[in-house]
């Protein structure tokens, strides 16, 4: 439960300078061909990259039993991010590469060269559990470019900024708060955060420090567990989000921007009240909800969508390949018995039954052999 480390202000990932620039040339590409330069750099200098983005863990901090904050030093290929965006990190667990999105919580100010991620362990989360147990300084993880164009601070900055979050939804709005204070923002910033109890409040000391240093920042922690309300002297508000909380957070509905990130119920409550009161201030929101896998009967037939061709047809129990052909498409295929992989296609959503083994499986983004895959329930593939 300590405060976070100050990010280094230099850019140590850039020390490669000329060497890295040479490695990014076309000649280097041909020399490394048909693989890419990063293929070899990963062995020689994992902290260098010319195309891929990797991050080295430079600090690990266990906020509490469930949450962990890691600081990453990205390769020079990291383009920087805007406060509120998220990034996909990839780690190998049991031989399988898993990818998860997290929102950096540190300031997006250009002088910050590190990426700080706070990860909350989910009981069934492969990646969060792995990182909570195995994250060590010196370890490398894969990174994507920052994603999300909507949930970011508008330019120019509005006078008033309202940041509402719940639980681990604190990370993107904390990044906004830190970015604004780093920029020397003079307008009012309200930080309305919902946690179960003071013990569950992430970044408690950091928030306190920011509030103390910046008189324009109003910190409003709310504890949702009944017995915990009296634990924190700053806790003026109680209960769930409602008109009273809104009045404190946004006293004047003018020249403002509002952001909400957290569990579905909180986001829903905020959006409803916003609509009810017909507020002028634009509200941007982001859900933090794990995907729910529907319980499906293996023989259940739904609709099959061939997303690339914009065709939807009712499933008839045959394989996706047969269905695609019946629908008039001509997908690439070869052996039609699951061995040559010619027909492999990305599964957008839904699950499929392997007609050879009878097993049900498939996660969005996975490539499946459509000649031996029959849809279970509604399925969409990229064909």
């Amino acid at each position: 439960m300590t405060s976070t480390t100050t990010p280094p202000t230099t850019s140590p990932s850039r020390t490669g300078g000329l060497a890295q620039r040479l490695l990014g040339t076309k000649v280097a590409d041909v020399l490394a061909g048909p693989h890419d330069v990063d293929h070899y750099l990963e062995l020689l200098r994992p902290d260098w990259a010319v195309r891929r983005i990797r991050g080295e863990i430079v600090a690990v901090e266990h906020q509490n039993d469930d949450s962990l904050t890691i600081t990453l030093r990205p390769t020079g290929t990291w383009p920087g991010f805007q406060a509120g965006q998220h990034v996909e990190i990839s780690v190998d667990v049991d031989g399988v590469r898993h990818r998860r999105s997290y929102s950096p919580s540190a300031s997006a100010h250009p002088r910050t060269r590190t990426i700080e991620l706070t990860i909350r362990r989910h009981p069934e989360g492969v990646v969060s559990r792995y990182l909570k147990e195995h994250a060590r300084v010196g370890m490398f993880v894969g990174l994507s470019v920052p994603q999300g164009e909507d949930f970011v601070l508008p330019d120019p900055r509005p006078r008033r900024v309202v940041l509402i979050s719940g639980g681990s939804g604190i990370t993107p709005v904390l990044s906004m708060l830190r970015t604004l204070t780093d920029e020397g923002h003079r307008g009012e910033i309200t930080f309305l955060h919902y946690a179960r109890s003071p013990q569950d409040l992430l970044y408690a000391e950091e928030l306190e420090r920011i509030a103390a240093e910046h008189p324009n920042v109003a910190l409003l922690p709310v504890y949702t567990r009944q017995d915990a309300t009296s634990g924190d002297p700053r806790s003026e508000l109680t209960g769930r989000f409602g008109p009273e909380h809104l009045r404190r957070a946004l006293p004047v509905d003018e020249d403002a921007a509002a952001f909400v990130c957290g569990p579905g119920a909180l986001v829903e409550a905020v959006r409803n009240l916003w609509a009810e009161q017909e507020l002028e201030t634009p509200l941007r929101f982001e859900h933090f909800a794990p995907p729910v896998l529907p319980d499906l009967d293996p023989d259940q037939l739904g609709d099959v969508t061939f997303a690339g061709s914009d065709v939807t047809t009712a499933a008839d129990g045959s394989t996706l390949l047969e269905q695609a052909e019946a629908a008039g498409l001509s997908p690439r295929s070869g052996c039609r018995m699951g061995i040559c992989l010619t027909c492999k296609c990305t599964l957008n959503s839904g699950v499929v039954r392997d007609t050879l083994s009878g097993e049900i499986g498939g996660v969005p983004g996975e490539e499946i052999r459509i000649c031996v895959s029959a849809p279970v329930g509604d399925v969409s593939i990229d064909l």
Partner: protein, 479 residues
């Protein structure tokens, strides 16, 4: 083990302590239905194509099976064998995990080290020891890249790892053949139609006569010459393989249609040549000729090695070929038996298997092309055991001997038997040029026959010596 067992495998199940595979009643293939009755619940569109379903109560194990090579295998036995193979496959597919990832990543690491080390050494290739060490490292890197990594990754053996660098659909390898064309000619054409003459284009690669079922013509007198050239330039042979250039001779080949493929090959070859024959030598400055010669040598060593391993997979003595007729109604079980009989293994040590990309376990590879190849050694124990129970041949031998039988076959097939020659001369021919060539061929064959005879007896002697040495070595090792 070529004697068919008298007992049908059903009895063998009961007597053995072998854990019987539960008789599943789902079809073994989406296309070719198993002969077991299908469940009513799954409305398969293929139901109407279900042929030759046994009359209830008839003893199908007595009727000869569809494959001429194994007449003792009834359709039921083929399917029972297929189910056992499916069980082996499932066991290993379900077990994939950290172990496989660690293995392939360690091979990749080794390949990267060898590549970097080899390239660095060869910048000083004018120093003879560096030339030798660099060639060794670079050929080893290319062999690992092409076989244990490239070939196996492109079969999708590591797709489950979800690593974009190990994705079978996008992987590109360090050889002249564009990976996309390989995926078609190899993963589909060869692995689906293995050893079916007329369908499997790996039989002779469209330039050689590798089977008695290919009608003889004078062109094939050059068989030994063609194969030697193919071995040296194997990467280019593989590169043009998917173009189906044999169609040029038959006249059903359109340059316009093949243009995109040619362009892809040209782009790939250009990049490979620029790297190995221009840029790396230029970087060596005045040592360029030495570096160039070293790179050429490394590529040739890789070519000879991959050619040897691949040709020993399907062409040594004893390996069966099949006709389109006998496989027309093939079930998944029949497919498994064909893969088994159409492939041959190479025996050797652990390093040998790694350097051959575990294609030394060609049988297991053809049975389970998408199971991580480093598992083939342990899988082979189960496969061999099943083969014994079903009275199926399991071909394996050391590389030098197997290669010898391949070359002996190529030499033998270059000259026609009297009947083949007669058949050739009797066949209706379109133009006089061919007729004239046929006449010339008749005289040439007599000479060639003699030459081939001398060559093969000489080779036989050499192989005898080699086998003796190998045997001696093995005895020394075991002692």
């Amino acid at each position: 083990m070529s004697t068919p067992t008298a007992t049908p495998p059903a009895t063998a199940f009961d007597d053995d302590d072998f854990k019987a595979v539960p008789k599943s009643d789902r079809p073994l293939s989406p296309k070719a239905p198993d002969r077991e009755s299908r469940p009513a619940g799954h409305s398969r569109a293929t139901a109407s194509t279900d042929v030759a379903v046994a009359e209830p109560g008839s003893d199908t194990s007595r009727t000869p099976g569809p494959l001429h090579a194994v007449p003792h295998m009834s359709q039921d036995m083929l399917d029972a064998f297929g189910r056992e193979m499916e069980a082996i496959r499932k066991k290993h597919m379900d077990d994939r995990g950290e172990r496989d990832a660690t293995y392939i990543r360690s091979i990749i690491k080794a390949q990267r080290r060898l590549e970097i080390g080899g390239r660095a050494l060869l910048e000083f290739a004018w120093v003879p020891p560096f030339w030798v060490a660099g060639v060794a490292a670079l050929s080893a890197s290319k062999i690992l890249d092409n076989m244990e990594i490239g070939h196996n990754v492109m079969h999708g053996q590591y797709d489950w790892m979800q690593d974009e660098e190990l994705n079978g659909r996008t992987f590109e390898w360090d050889t002249a053949c564009p990976a996309d064309q390989w995926r078609h000619s190899h993963n589909y054409m060869h692995h689906t139609h293995t050893n079916i003459v007329g369908k499997d284009r790996d039989i002779g690669y469209g330039i050689l006569r590798m089977s008695e079922d290919q009608p003889w013509e004078p062109y094939y007198l050059g068989n030994l010459g063609y194969v030697s050239a193919l071995a040296l330039l194997f990467e280019y042979g593989v590169a043009v393989h998917d173009l189906e250039t044999e169609g040029i001779r038959a006249g059903d080949w359109s340059l316009k249609e093949r243009l995109p493929m040619l362009r892809a090959i040209w782009d790939k070859v250009k990049g490979q040549a620029a790297k190995d024959y221009v840029l790396f030598p230029l970087l060596a400055g005045p040592g360029a000729p030495a570096t160039l010669s070293a790179n050429v040598t490394a590529n040739i060593i890789r070519n000879l090695w991959t050619f040897s391993i691949i040709f020993c997979g399907h062409f040594p003595d004893g390996v069966e070929e099949f006709t389109e007729e006998e496989t027309a109604e093939e079930t998944r079980g029949g497919w498994y038996v064909r893969q088994l009989l159409g492939s041959a293994n190479l025996t050797g040590g652990k390093l040998f298997h790694i350097m051959s990309g575990n294609l030394s376990f060609q049988i297991e590879h053809h049975l389970f092309p998408d199971v991580p190849a480093h598992r083939y050694a342990e899988i082979s124990v189960d496969v061999k055991e099943a083969c014994e129970r079903y009275g199926l041949d399991y071909h394996a031998g050391p590389l030098p001997y197997q290669l010898f039988t391949v070359f002996r076959k190529i030499a033998r097939l270059s000259v026609p038997t009297d009947a083949e020659l007669q058949a050739y001369l009797d066949a209706p021919r379109g133009n006089r040029v061919v007729k004239a060539a046929a006449g010339a061929a008749r005289t040439a064959t007599v000479g060639a026959k003699g030459a081939a005879g001398v060559a093969s007896s000489g080779a036989r002697g050499a192989v005898g010596a080699v086998t003796g040495v190998v045997g001696g070595l093995r005895r020394t090792v075991t002692a």
